[in-house]
């Protein structure tokens, strides 16, 4: 062994584990090409990128596209739409799975409970296209169930699908329909972990079920609720592009356009590559700060963060 120890152990590791390195290679190549090269491609947000000139040949323009974004009236529209949809998610959607889980926990018949769970988990597996399609055929003015009911009760028909004022209710209704049942799983698991002795003690003290729910179950799962709430806030910019884009149309654009849909329309459909990349960059950067902040907070709160 005349070679330096460090060097030879390196080489021996490579020899011993050569197939392991080969196994990792395709996955590594995948993220380098489809995740890291696009990050490098963010450079075009500082250029006037022309596809035929390429990244090397396109003119550098500094922060011009970012300036355009921040001074555009579109920016405030997208910004407030994003915040409002997020507010709906937080205030209306977030509590529902918690309430459902608490209610499910109170069911005495195991069979009934499992039956309910089977039904309310189902929509989670449906694509957004199916969810939105189903609500379209039900809410359409043109022979839909809801408008039929309104009409037969003597009300005016409402164009739920092509209207600014109905976009947000439709959005949150669809989110609830698809995800509220599924969202109970994590809370049910937390409830299952509560020490049964606590309930025994409470019963001794004469607490009824409602009392037990508020004094034992809810406080016991509070850490889980807080962590999920913090993580949700970190995801403020992730409102579901696949979902919102399906609902977006010319009549509701003022309330429905969010960062992702704006990037898609201005970039892919209108071909403003550099400008839309700048918008996406801004969104990604703010998102990164929010997620890291949320994780830091969640960890600080005493639970393990996700990363």
């Amino acid at each position: 062994m005349s070679k330096p120890i460090a060097g030879s152990s390196w080489i021996r590791n490579l020899q011993r584990n050569k197939w392991i390195y080969v196994m990792i290679m395709p996955g590594l190549l995948f993220i380098l090409i489809y995740k890291y090269i696009p990050m490098y491609g963010l450079i075009i947000s500082f250029q006037n990128y022309r596809p035929y000139k390429g990244i090397m040949g396109s003119d550098f323009v500094g922060f011009e596209h970012f300036q355009r974004l921040f001074t555009s009236p579109d920016f405030w529209m997208i910004f407030s739409n994003t915040l409002i949809l997020f507010g709906l998610q937080l205030l209306i959607f977030f509590p529902i799975p918690i309430i459902l889980a608490l209610m499910l926990n109170e069911l005495r018949s195991e069979k009934y409970k499992r039956g309910i769970q089977t039904l309310i988990y189902l929509p989670h597996f449906m694509s957004w296209v199916i969810v939105v399609s189903i609500s379209f055929v039900i809410f359409t003015v043109d022979g839909g169930l809801i408008n039929g009911a309104l009409e037969s009760m003597g009300f005016q028909r409402i164009n739920f699908l092509l209207s600014e004022s109905w976009f947000r209710p439709m959005y949150i209704l669809q989110v609830i329909w698809r995800e509220a049942g599924w969202g109970t799983i994590i809370f049910l698991a937390a409830i299952a972990g509560v020490d049964p002795q606590l309930y025994e003690a409470a019963k001794m003290d004469g607490a009824n079920r409602l009392r037990q729910m508020f004094s034992i179950t809810l406080p016991s799962i509070k850490p889980v609720i807080v962590v999920l709430l913090i993580l949700k806030i970190g995801d403020v910019l992730e409102l579901g592009f696949e979902h919102v884009y399906l609902l977006l149309n010319a009549t509701n654009r003022q309330v429905a356009e969010i960062f992702d849909t704006y990037v898609y329309v201005s970039g892919i459909l209108q071909g403003q590559f550099s400008y839309s990349t700048a918008v996406g960059f801004f969104k990604g950067f703010v998102g990164l700060i929010l997620v890291m902040g949320a994780n830091w907070l969640a960890k600080k709160y005493g639970e393990e963060g996700i990363y």
């Binding site: 390196w10 590791n13 584990n17 392991i20 390195y21 196994m23 990792i24 395709p26 996955g27 590594l28 995948f30 993220i31 489809y34 090269i37 696009p38 491609g41 963010l42 596809p51 459902l100 209610m103 109170e106 309910i116 039904l119 189902l122 597996f125 449906m126 694509s127 957004w128 296209v129 199916i130 399609s133 189903i134 055929v137 039900i138 022979g143 169930l145 039929g148 009911a149 009409e151 329909w177 799983i185 994590i186 698991a189 019963k203 009824n208 079920r209 696949e242 884009y245 399906l246 992702d260 990037v263 898609y264 970039g267 892919i268 996406g280 960059f281 969104k283 990164l288 997620v291 990363y307």
Partner: protein, 291 residues
């Protein structure tokens, strides 16, 4: 709690069970309405609007949408992409996860960081689109698969699972003269079937449900998977060229045609639902251990 039979606690149980029942009903009624309406006759759709199960059944809407092979072709594309995509994603994810589960790999921490960082930040839609274009995938089915090969979250679940396997398994295989491929395919994978099944279903549902990549990367309508076709027919109300000649009189009402298309697109998920529910519930908790 069995002895707890006071009037108020009975009322509570009744109201609680009733409200949950209502919520569950509200969840499934839309499905039943769509299913029922797809078999309704034109007359019934026009006359009675409250309709879960029609009184007379007709397969007109189905005969109509299957009059051309557009839908079957789109279903075929979706099945093809889902099967091939799931297989490909699992192969690469399992290989990567197993490699990274071995602790004596040089640069393991750095590689893990490279993977995890992609969950926090990305180049975004446009640069990714340009890379997909540059790698020559536009208008190819591979554009729906290759750019999303690994879901890092799924890969980490697999890696955690592999790390939990007893070390003795690998040691004894090595003594028997297996190399790392042998260990992975003959020992590790067969011992990890529950995790493999769960993650395969995760990938399969994602591939089946995706439409965004298809509208971004496939400009040729003949290559559309069923989700994109569904959006075209129901949400954009773009209609499609069905063969009207199968009808001597009038084509079935647009509403029931849309319902029928939704039913066809929903069927595969409904048929697989028992498996999905079982494995996904496990998976959701696997994920929450980390979350």
């Amino acid at each position: 709690m069995v002895g707890d039979k006071s009037w108020s606690s009975r009322m509570f149980a009744l109201i609680n069970g009733g409200l949950l029942g209502l919520f569950a009903l509200a969840t499934v009624l839309p499905f039943i309405h769509v299913f029922g309406s797809s078999f309704a006759t034109a007359g019934e759709i026009a006359a009675k609007r409250f309709l879960l199960i029609p009184t007379t059944f007709t397969f007109d809407a189905y005969r109509y949408i299957f009059s051309t092979n557009t839908i079957m072709k789109a279903m075929g594309v979706s099945v093809f992409v889902t099967v091939l995509g799931t297989f490909w994603s699992m192969l690469i994810s399992v290989m990567t996860a197993y490699g990274l589960s071995r602790k004596d790999i040089i640069g393991r921490q750095v590689i893990m960081f490279l993977f995890v960082f992609t969950m926090l930040f990305s180049g975004g839609m446009i640069p990714t689109f340009l890379v997909v274009k540059e790698t020559g995938l536009l208008d190819s089915y591979l554009s729906l698969i290759v750019p999303v090969t690994i879901n890092v979250f799924n890969m980490i679940i697999l890696k955690t699972f592999f790390q939990g396997l007893p070390d003795g398994l690998e040691e004894s295989a090595k003594i028997d003269g297996c190399n790392d491929w042998g260990i992975l395919f003959r020992i590790v994978i067969p011992c990890s079937m529950p995790a493999i099944a769960t993650i395969s279903l995760f990938y399969a549902v994602t591939y089946w449900n995706t439409y965004m990549h298809a509208i971004m990367y496939l400009s040729d309508a003949a290559k559309w998977p069923v989700q994109v076709l569904l959006r075209q027919i129901v949400i954009l109300a773009g209609g499609m060229n069905f063969d009207n000649s199968v009808y001597t009189d009038v084509p079935p009402p647009a509403q029931s045609v849309k319902m029928a298309v939704i039913v066809v697109a929903t069927m595969p998920i409904l048929l697989l639902y028992p498996f999905l529910q079982k494995h996904f519930t496990k998976g959701a908790l696997l994920g929450s251990v980390k979350a």
